[in-house]
Symmetry: C2
Subunit: 66 residues, 2 copies
């Protein structure tokens, strides 16, 4: 489950904790998702995408990985 969350979060100058609070998750959960060895729920993925002004495909679709 590799993804672009970490890169896009840093582009927005947000910390894991700030993003976590805004999407209603914990810092640990965000950390695990960024690490990639995790299978988050669709709701959480959508919440993260909206906070980072991206779409699901931008963050999680294979062909779009940076």
């Amino acid at each position: 489950m590799k993804n672009n969350v970490k890169i896009m979060r840093m582009k927005m100058s947000m910390t894991q904790e700030q993003l976590a609070k805004r999407v209603g998750a914990t810092r640990q959960t965000i950390g695990l998702i960024e690490k990639g060895e995790y299978n988050p729920s669709l709701q959480l993925c959508v919440a993260i995408a909206k906070e980072l002004n991206k779409t699901l495909d931008d963050l999680f679709w294979e062909e779009n990985l940076l």
Copy 2:
């Protein structure tokens, strides 16, 4: 968690059971996802999208809902 899974599955002339088998899930899980009152995992969403020749955004991004 409304989505376009049911519409796209029917466009591909697949039954819930056929789609379920191809993505490694059960018919019941597919049914619940299509019904929309459910929060599937990202892995399952990706598997479904690939089987239906669509992307995550096509199936699950709000602005793309049919």
